[in-house]
Symmetry: C2
Subunit: 351 residues, 2 copies
């Protein structure tokens, strides 16, 4: 029996960049943010079942390439992601990513997906999910400091998940603010471009910082931050890269994804290794307390964790199947007789 067409198991559903964009528009940007946040929350609430391997990094003079694997015992996932700060000079993305899910029981991949856009989506969905737990009740205004690739996603997610009505934009580059404001024009948010970080945080209950410098920068100084706000710190996400003055960290209650990773990559790399932090999954399961007073400064020291990618891929796997927005990729060899790989190769030569 000669069979040259691969079986279903050998064809791995592939969600391209184009399909991912179509998927977002088919589901709707805000509903997809909500759906992603729901998957992430579900997975954070079952935190203990996950295999939490540290990411495997390959560093070079110009950047880093990382593999971020995890597994819940039934499904295995990993993300490939690079970080090359100088890429933008050549018109390339600083960060590109793709991801994969596989069936733990037989090791066969079940989804390959672009993750450059999906990572932007899941990062924003995570921020907004965390803000729903930690930001002051009825937060309506967010300061968005740093108006790069992540800024619109953050704004939309905070609208969809927290109910934010106004974003106040600031970037050291006014062109970035103009771009962000233009992109958010039809979003339903009130968009206020500002001339300084100080102006941006006026009246904001949530302050999101997302700047890209790979250096110890001080985007927020101590005297800028009043009591009662929630700080969503996205940009400090690798060794040597932070955004907040240490004094702010000392005034804040700090919440993190995975302490082992955040102490190396996050804002808290500026603090002692035993500085107290609260794990978000424990807040979500009720094992730890989130915001406890109106005066408290809460800080989400976001670095991005493999489980969030896993949750996002899980969501995409389901939605891609529903919408048929994928290509079947001929990635796995599938001989009729598993021992007869060579015979399959020979028959292909004759065909």
């Amino acid at each position: 029996m000669t069979k040259l067409k691969p079986s279903d198991k050998a064809l791995v559903p592939f969600v391209s960049v184009d399909h991912m964009m179509q998927l977002i528009h088919t589901v709707g940007l805000e509903p997809m943010m909500q759906g992603l946040a729901e998957c992430i929350e579900t997975d954070f609430k079952r935190w203990e079942v996950f295999d939490k391997t540290p990411r495997v990094a390959s560093h070079s003079a110009t950047g880093v390439i990382e593999l971020m694997p995890t597994s819940d015992g039934e499904v295995y996932g990993f993300k490939y992601v690079n970080g090359h700060p100088d890429n933008t000079k050549g018109g390339l993305q600083t960060v590109t990513a793709f991801g994969l899910l596989a069936d733990v029981s037989n090791g066969y991949p079940v989804l390959l997906s672009e993750m450059t856009i999906l990572t932007a989506m899941r990062t924003a969905a995570t921020s907004a999910l965390v803000a729903r737990y930690l930001a002051p009740k009825d937060s309506k205004v967010m300061a968005m400091i740093g108006n790069g690739a992540q800024s619109e996603f953050q704004s939309i997610a905070m609208k969809a998940i927290v109910g934010i009505e106004e974003v106040r934009l600031y970037d050291i580059d006014p062109a970035a603010t103009r771009k962000c404001a233009a992109n958010l024009a039809g979003s339903g948010l009130r968009v206020v471009p500002c001339d300084s970080a100080e102006e941006a945080i006026l009246g904001a209950q949530i302050i999101t910082t997302c700047t890209a410098d790979k250096q110890y920068a001080t985007i927020l100084t101590d005297n800028m931050v009043g009591s009662g706000v929630h700080i969503n710190a996205i940009g400090g996400d690798c060794p040597g890269k932070t955004e907040l003055a240490p004094a702010i960290l000392h005034r804040s209650d700090i919440f993190v994804e995975f302490p082992e990773q955040t102490r190396i990559e996050g804002e808290i790399q500026q603090l002692d290794a035993d500085h107290p932090v609260t794990e978000l999954w424990q807040v979500m399961t009720g094992q730890a307390r989130g915001r406890t007073s109106d005066k408290q400064i809460t800080l989400f020291d976001s670095v991005g964790f493999a489980i969030e990618d896993f949750s996002a891929l899980r969501y995409v796997r389901e939605k891609a199947a529903e919408t048929q927005l994928f290509h079947p990729l001929d990635l796995l060899a599938d001989p009729d007789d598993p021992r007869d790989l060579f015979g399959m190769l020979q028959r292909a030569g004759r065909a």
Copy 2:
């Protein structure tokens, strides 16, 4: 400027299973074995430039999923590979694999390739390359014990690279031997099916063992192995899986890819942790001696190492470009302005 077509850098060349088979037939099976061996030899000779990260394994009750990364400082590569011994019961492959190369300078992937077939090719090419260094001069006869998916590839590689003229086949399952013999019928090799391992090794200068049981098995016992042979031990390649009696190991000079990995996964897991072994790259560079006498038993304790996959992907990248046997895969988001990922997404919605 609305640009919806991704740029060249955003499209990653993808070599499917079908394209890999076409590539092998276009290049020719034996020339491709030789080309792969040449790439592997080149890379073994520059062993010290490689980043030799241990593989990252995720174990489950039914098997293992591994990521095997490496880099030579200019190109980064990794392989995804699973090992699920019970898969064949359900008509699936025990091992499936795919791999990726990326440009270290900017982190952009430059090749995605199937590697189930390619791994079979590179494993055989490595075995034959090593046999060219270690087997007795003018070896003409190989015993092939274990006639599964790897057996034909091993036989062809030993013909193309070492000059073997006869293979003597044995498997506990006669159907496997019949399959292997049928597949090798037009290969130019003299194929001798045998009824026992003892019969198969009669007159053989090279003994290749490649059986699949995930347990301590004894495919070769001490009294079966005479002096002067080269043993190419493929099957013992994970903890708890070996093929050779310890007494044979004690009579042999043992050669390995990467001792740190082989002591865990190879035949030598049966020996003391300080049992002397020779690294193959040192034999190839002339820093260590290979075969030194006619009486010596040389043993290649093969487990498969990330650098071999890297070499194989490097070869495929070049040949795929020459033959155009690849698809451009829309894997990476590529906005005109790297900071304007959201704008790209919005324009796709309007299109």
